[in-house]
């Protein structure tokens, strides 16, 4: 709802870390207690509330329950369960304190997992038809104009996990970095958007764009490893932008999701 990312997220750079942490239960919960609580829930509560506590044949969703969400370590939940709500068919339960604690740990860990979208695990990406993907690659997609499974894409399927492969197929911007590390600056990426600045007197400098505004231009000069900056005044100095990924950018509006899945399946097979 609210999050407005103010930095540029190009390609897959910031994405790897999220994947690695997938399915890890939050460290605040004891895994053994979660397991015991889940067992208890499924045998004692699951018939009405569902084996995953999201509601069943006759009982409401427990993970969406305000009582459960605001419970503190099983205290309020325990008070409720000892009495139940007989008028609405909810019997009292005589759990031990230890059982009560386990049940609360399971429910709170399930709620945490629902809330923690950074840890959501991406499921099966490779559902496409690799043969159809190959045909698209060589035909309508015009991918073969620049790419070849024998050269630049050799072994690409072994290099990336499927979601990263799909993401980079759409726009291979940003270097893939190790989990929990800062991505390297975008101007060091070989697919960086570049500009050529031509100053009065005719000198031309080409480099990755660190920043281009109405008022200044800063390029990364790979030869010297330094950033060079010029103030701009209208058309002076002259600035010409070139994007090595322009074909990818132009193709964004052309992809169907089926074509995307098919080509991903094709590339994933290049191992």
């Amino acid at each position: 709802m609210i999050r407005l990312v103010t930095t540029i997220v190009g390609g897959a750079a910031l994405v790897i870390a999220a994947n690695v942490s997938a399915q890890q239960p939050a460290s605040e919960f004891d895994p053994a207690a979660v397991e015991r609580g889940q067992q208890l829930l499924s045998t004692q509560c699951g018939f009405c509330h569902g084996a995953n506590a999201r509601g069943g044949s006759s009982g409401p969703d427990l993970t969406r329950s305000a009582l459960v969400q605001t419970d503190e370590g099983g205290r309020q939940l325990g008070q409720f369960l000892r009495v139940g709500r007989p008028d609405r068919g909810m019997p009292a339960f005589d759990f031990t304190d230890a059982q009560m604690a386990d049940l609360a740990v399971f429910l709170h860990s399930a709620i945490r997992a629902n809330a923690n979208r950074k840890a959501y695990r991406i499921l099966d990406v490779l559902v496409g038809d690799g043969k159809a993907g190959e045909a698209y690659f060589n035909g309508e997609g015009r991918c073969a104009t620049c790419h070849s499974p024998q050269r630049d894409l050799r072994g690409i399927g072994a290099k990336y996990d499927p979601p990263t492969l799909q993401n980079r197929m759409i726009l291979p911007r940003g270097a893939v970095t190790a989990p929990n590390t800062q991505p390297e600056p975008a101007h060091l990426d070989h697919n960086a958007i570049k500009a050529t600045v031509t100053v009065a007197g005719g000198e031309s400098i080409t480099g990755a764009i660190v920043r281009l505004t109405d008022f200044d231009v800063a390029l990364y000069d790979a030869a010297s490893g330094q950033t060079r900056t010029w103030l701009r005044n209208g058309d002076s100095p002259k600035v010409v932008v070139s994007d090595p990924l322009q074909a990818h950018v132009d193709h964004l509006a052309k992809w169907t999701d089926a074509d995307m899945h098919n080509v991903t399946a094709y590339l994933a097979g290049l191992k």
Binding site: M1, R54, Y120, P163, A186, A192, R211
Partner: protein, 547 residues
């Protein structure tokens, strides 16, 4: 109207008891140019000032008057709050609030902080720190003032009142549960004796609501639920109680108000679960809607749903901007929204009747059709899927919370836009998915532009591209201010604060602030001098003409 008269009477009585008051709420409807008494400067949400000391002709002489860097130290601050004495680690505060200016003092906020700053010098009068219990510290939009009382919300969901003269706390009330992942970032809006506040939070499937609170004791006057309950009108747009009573719709941004119609306009948030609709078939009223409420009762007068059955986090919380305009030769009372879903929507604000819909960004690829009432209808094949769906805009939207501007002189509605793509993966295939239920992987931002939209046609009159970096376009959504001096203040996505020619979009003046502006700029006259005040990162900057 009777209630308004009563409110004025009560206010006069309070004034008689306490001596002179900083702000009579009746003046918010027509604020004098030497003040900025409410989030948008006035009730209209236009963020247009009649001041014209600074013009297209002399803006080149605009210069820095002062800088205030956010002081977050507790040592000399007035401290309140329910949390621990040692502050938990939170991101450095950023100025997202629009400062109010009354009697030469600026009042503004960041999560857990409120400051009163001398508007002439930028020196601190007082600083209030809230000891937090937690909550999402993503931002705070600002404070509201009624008489001598100042109001703000905290990330851990407290509604707090201070004495604006001293910064001393009067009281605080909890308005939502942090344990349910509610957090509060809204700026309170004062209408008569209603202090209107809305809650936020979308990590879990929880109900959204807007409240009026009493300015003296902070108690609830009315609450409007953003989704219906069984039997209510609108309930048939949800499959069951389970879905509607946890259906989200957070009203997380300040609304606007028409004193003549006595209607308060608010944009509501997206439905829950956020990125999938499998457990909530139907339109999911009143999420992603522009809603008109009676401010004295909280009863709904009309609604218009900008995105029926949203599945992409595109809330319609963006400012509903009030325009007194002309359509087909007829004078009309209108309300416009540049919406996060990529569309510009214009309505009649008396009835909610649709006037026009236009597409703001080219890349938007999620729509099947614009229906007979102008609503963009989603193509369900563009919902998140297990193997991934390529969608534009991304969840940040074509635009976002930063306030747009409407200039009645040019007839143009100004908005910062971005065109980004993401792949959205359904991760929760349960019949009852929860939370976001899907993962988003950013592809990139391929364009960003400041756009000027002709409100009568919905067509883009001019579009000014923003900054470029090695990774793509930068910037997009930005706080804007337009003035009778022919100027439009905003940023360029490249860390410059810029004065544009409001008619043409030409950049006339700029200041490199090292980071993009992060709030809505505002302006006022003080000692005969027009100031323009803007926040960028952890600092507030004031500009005025060279003397």
């Amino acid at each position: 109207m009777m209630l308004k008269t009563l409110a004025a009477l009560l206010f006069a009585m309070a004034a008689a008891q306490t001596g002179s008051l900083l702000l009579d709420p009746a003046t918010i409807a027509k604020p004098p140019v030497d003040s900025w008494p409410t989030y948008h400067g006035d009730y209209s949400g236009r963020r247009y000032s009649t001041l014209k000391q600074i013009t297209t002709g002399n803006v080149k002489s605009l210069t820095l008057a002062w800088v205030y860097r956010l002081n977050t130290q507790r040592a000399a601050a007035i401290v309140g709050g329910e949390g621990a004495d040692t502050a938990p680690p939170t991101a450095p505060p950023v100025v997202k609030s629009t400062p109010l200016m009354i009697n030469g003092v600026l009042y503004f906020s960041a999560p857990d902080h409120v400051w009163a700053i001398d508007a002439r010098t930028g020196r601190e009068n007082w600083h209030f720190v809230w000891k937090t219990r937690g909550g999402d510290h993503i931002g705070n939009r600002g404070v509201g003032i009624y008489g001598n009382w100042l109001y703000f919300l905290t990330p851990d969901n407290y509604f707090v009142s201070l004495d604006a003269r001293t910064g001393k706390e009067r009281w605080h009330h909890e308005i939502a549960s942090m344990k349910r992942e509610y957090f509060s970032s809204n700026a309170p809006i004062i209408v008569g004796r209603n202090v209107i506040v809305g809650v936020g939070g979308d990590a879990l499937d929880i109900p959204g609501y807007l409240e009026s609170r009493d300015p003296e004791n902070g108690e609830v006057v009315w609450r409007w639920n953003t989704t219906p309950r069984p039997g209510d009108p609108g309930a048939t747009s949800w499959p069951d109680e389970y879905a509607m009573s946890s259906g989200g719709g957070m009203p997380w941004l300040p609304g606007t108000y028409d004193p003549d119609l006595n209607l308060y306009y608010i944009g509501t948030g997206n439905p829950q679960p956020v990125l999938t609709g499998q457990s909530r078939p139907g339109d999911n009223l009143y999420t992603c809607s522009i809603v008109a409420l009676h401010p004295d009762t909280g009863k709904m007068a009309w609604y218009y749903q900008v995105t029926p059955h949203d599945t992409h986090d595109w809330d319609a919380a963006q400012t509903p901007v009030l325009i007194d305009g002309v359509i087909n030769g007829q004078p009309r009372k209108l309300v416009a929204q540049a919406s996060r879903n990529g569309y510009f929507i214009l309505l009649d604000r008396t009835s909610g009747a649709h006037v026009l819909t236009s597409k703001m960004i080219e890349s938007a690829n999620w729509t099947k059709e614009i229906n007979a009432t102008g609503q963009p209808i989603g193509n369900r094949s563009k919902d998140a899927s297990v193997p991934g769906t390529l969608v534009s805009p991304d969840t940040n939207g074509a635009t976002n919370w930063p306030p747009p501007s409407f200039n009645p002189d040019t007839g143009l509605f100004y908005v910062g836009t971005q065109q980004a793509y993401s792949i959205m993966y359904l991760t929760d295939t349960d019949p009852r998915p929860q939370g976001w239920a899907a993962a988003e992987r950013s592809v990139g931002r391929v364009a960003s532009a400041l756009k000027a939209i002709d409100y009568q046609t919905g067509k883009v009159r001019w579009s000014h591209p923003l900054a470029l970096t090695a990774a793509g376009s930068a910037g997009g959504p930005m706080g804007l201010l337009s003035t009778a001096g022919g100027l439009l203040f905003g940023n360029d996505g490249g860390s410059h604060f810029v004065a544009y020619d409001a008619a043409t979009g030409k950049a006339l003046w700029h200041a490199g602030l090292g980071t993009n502006t992060t709030n809505g700029p505002q302006t006022f006259l003080l000692d005969g001098r027009q100031y323009v005040v803007v926040g960028a990162g952890d600092a507030l900057y004031a500009f005025a003409l060279q003397q």
